[in-house]
Subunit: 494 residues, 2 copies
């Protein structure tokens, strides 16, 4: 005889199987699917989304959750699973199956349109599909409900408890404290970095990227790396977590940062509790915590001098000609060059937050109706001029650069900035709690850091909400000053 | 207001979406999935199989089918769809959801075990999983029902209307008419073929294989080729039909035959009626007709002198060193060398049918209980000695060589021989009806042949049962003499 909790687990694991099957189809769509396959794939993803939705709003499951809510025999972990599932169930029940399928279909078609639009650098190809996505997202905000701003309902899906007002305060902080530092840095002489744009053959970059992933501790028997137009991490369970990267033969930054960034995401997924497959505790805490893991590896580790000192021999082995007149210190400075730029994913870690700010303002405008989809290229270009003093030469490198909107992800971007700030706080805490971490990184050994992250962050899954997790691990509430301390320390070097 | 027929289409297309999603997961499992992903993938496939089964036995759908059965307003094509769906529905209802899930799980685990067993050449690793498969298949035969032999129920799933007794008669024919020809051929001097085992670099073989596929008319925007341990064709719809091949750098046969063979299967799938997605008429007629398409390209086209004369320049361009002392006639004779051998998929087109005969006898024995799974290596090796005078050196090249049993496919092998015979009859008819076909092949132009196949075979889908389709296209019932005429004509050359 199965207990109610067992039945609950069975149901959620069935739902997880359907959703992760859908994820396999998405991975395939963005890596290996032939072009003509797109049309029917959209229908297949829509059907799976419909089935998943039916399972997630199943009334018998709802009754089970309400019984379990008051079940005093459950452990703390079980209680937390049930609590999170019940919240999710109540949220999901606000959607109709028809809405979910319509959104899924719109997203699949939007992705294909975005991909073509980006290739042709023509926003008009994407525009009608994005218009539909925005309409559906506005409907979604109404369905979910919100207190102050419809955008609140969308942020809440990625970062529960964070509101539009919170994000606005955050970006005020960024303007007040970060902007002066950037201005100071920009007054100094820019480091040389012309060597980053020499010719770096694809295969050698690929091999270096694989070395980097292995050194980080990414388990290649439980994952793989492929190429896609926009790098991403996707998981089907903790034993199958895949990353993609992109390689430019004339821009060495692309592969390095996408590989380390996605590798950080993937390490988190590979470290989630395997026994909780399909249950909330088997999932990531929040998107900002997810981003904290990628940013910690990318910035706090990957943009440090000691990391590249440890890996310098490897770089020289792969690229002796390209690097023959470059010192590791010059390499380090080039990787940390602060310069307002076009592409968010290639931005330095300071101006990066202005890229996020622009997207946040646009999303908020689209959702509240103060910005029209048709006007996006002009709006985008004007904001890049205003905040970063950048002229955007075309749609591909402007408004079409990110995949997110084609995925229907609106309300997601602010978590990127939040992630960097959590990363700084977590890394400072890790180095304080285990003083072997910094020395080990300098010796090319990432194990102590990964062990600390596994124990303190990854293995917790969704047991704590993000701010609580930070508080528990760091002994104090989330604080922006860690990021500023880190940034001031590093950019004082230049 | 949707008609009953529309509702019927909606339901079947939903079912198709689930089943083809499952196919994407299978493709991934056999091409790119990391090894640790296997365990949870098995569960995911099992869940999808369970959902598909629930949809296929849904009682409301059954009522709909029974209403449509007597609906006089349907077109002939619609009637045929309903008739086939109703037969399928009645068959499916003989299974429980539990049985379907158990079988799906057993198959996923068996595949992983087979893969490892083959790599280590150790049947014992695969044995317990295969034992479970056989038990489940015997149960399945009982569930489905049969008149004379439990194996009848299993063949009927792949080749409706063909019985164990039919197959036994067929193999008697093979023994009586084919064996004397083989004996005659073996008495002649064997052609030289040592050049086929020179070093052929992987990438150049890959490029030649892609050329071959393109020349056949395979649409690479609606498909792709990858590598897997056992070549296969898989489709998610007529616009996404994928093939895999295997490349050996020291055996030029492997890539050539697997590429042309799977290419033939794929052309059939790409030619099925797109508007009938998810419906019976959108599916292949039968497995034997499917195999007739692969064999027609592989043997009737690909093992002909005119085909290689047309492609000889290409072969010399890729492999000038390897082929510098070889004439196209010698190449042709090497590709048609008749020699009893170990591996079915590499066998010549005459002894091939004895490989099938052996598998048929073993399957029949396993299902009726006269052969035990544990004894398979000995049984296998003894039959290879008896029929082909071959000593099997190890399990990997013996009983573990084929993927089929790990997929739960028992009753499938006989369709291979049937396919070759249909191929001979269809190719003879095609050349008679359109006398430009042979000349075009000799000029490297496959279009007239593909056009004929598209019109006469592919576009029909499942409208006719296999023997009826042959009769309609060829103007006479299926006849073994076409294969014998073809074989006698070709092997008279030597």
């Amino acid at each position: 005889m199965k207990s109610n909790y067992d039945l609950y687990c069975d149901h959620l694991r069935k739902l997880a199987d359907v959703m992760f099957s859908s994820a396999v189809l998405q991975w395939d769509q963005e890596t290996y699917m032939p072009s003509k396959g797109a049309e029917m794939r959209a229908g297949q993803l829509s059907t799976l989304a419909g089935i998943a939705h039916e399972l997630s709003v199943d009334s018998t499951f709802g009754e089970l959750l309400n019984k379990l809510k008051d079940d005093a025999t459950l452990t703390e972990r079980q209680k937390r699973n049930v609590e999170l599932s019940l919240k999710d169930f109540n949220d999901r029940n606000k959607y109709t199956t028809e809405f979910v399928q319509t959104l899924s279909l719109a997203v699949s078609e939007a992705f294909v349109a975005w991909d073509e639009a980006k290739k042709k650098s023509d926003f008009a190809i994407f525009s009608p599909k994005l218009k539909l996505i925005v309409e559906l997202k506005r409907k979604e905000a109404e369905l979910l409900g919100y207190k102050q701003h419809p955008y609140d309902a969308l942020i809440d899906q990625y970062e529960p408890g964070t509101t539009t007002a919170d994000v606005e305060r955050l970006f005020a902080d960024i303007r007040n404290k970060l902007k002066p530092l950037i201005e100071k840095v920009l007054k100094q002489d820019a480091p040389r970095d012309e060597f980053m744009y020499r010719f770096f053959p694809r295969q050698k970059q690929w091999d270096l990227g694989m070395d980097i992933l292995k050194q980080m501790g990414y388990d290649l028997e439980a994952g793989r790396q492929d190429e896609s137009s926009h790098p991403f991490t996707i998981h089907f369970n903790a034993n199958d977590v895949r990353v993609t990267t992109r390689v430019s033969e004339t821009n060495f930054h692309e592969m390095i940062w996408s590989t380390i960034h996605e590798g950080g995401h993937a390490l988190y997924e590979q470290g989630l509790p395997r026994t909780e497959y399909g249950l909330p505790l088997g999932e990531a805490c929040s998107l900002a915590i997810h981003e904290s893991q990628s940013r910690l590896w990318e910035n706090n580790v990957g943009r440090s001098l000691s990391y590249w000192k440890a890996n310098w021999k490897k770089v020289l082995d792969y690229f002796p000609e390209q690097m023959k007149d470059v010192s590791v210190e010059e390499f380090f400075k080039a990787m940390n060059k602060v310069v307002p730029s076009l592409i968010r994913t290639n931005a330095d870690e300071l101006t990066y937050h202005f890229h996020v700010l622009i997207r946040f303002e646009i999303e908020k405008g689209l959702i509240e109706g103060s910005i029209e989809v048709e006007d996006l290229p002009q709006v985008w270009n004007a904001k890049y001029k205003a905040y970063l003093n950048i002229d955007v030469p075309n749609d591909a490198e402007g408004v079409l650069q990110d995949i997110h909107w084609s995925h229907g992800s609106i309300g997601y971007f602010p978590t990127y900035s939040l992630g960097s700030f959590y990363a700084a706080q977590l890394f400072a805490t890790a180095c304080k709690q285990d003083d072997s971490i910094e020395q080990s990184i300098a010796a090319g050994n990432m194990k102590p850091l990964l062990t600390w992250l596994r124990k303190n962050v990854h293995s917790e899954g969704k047991f704590y909400p993000a701010p609580k997790l930070i508080e528990k691990v760091c002994g104090e509430k989330p604080d922006f000053r860690y990021f500023m301390e880190y940034a001031n320390a590093k950019y004082g070097v230049f």
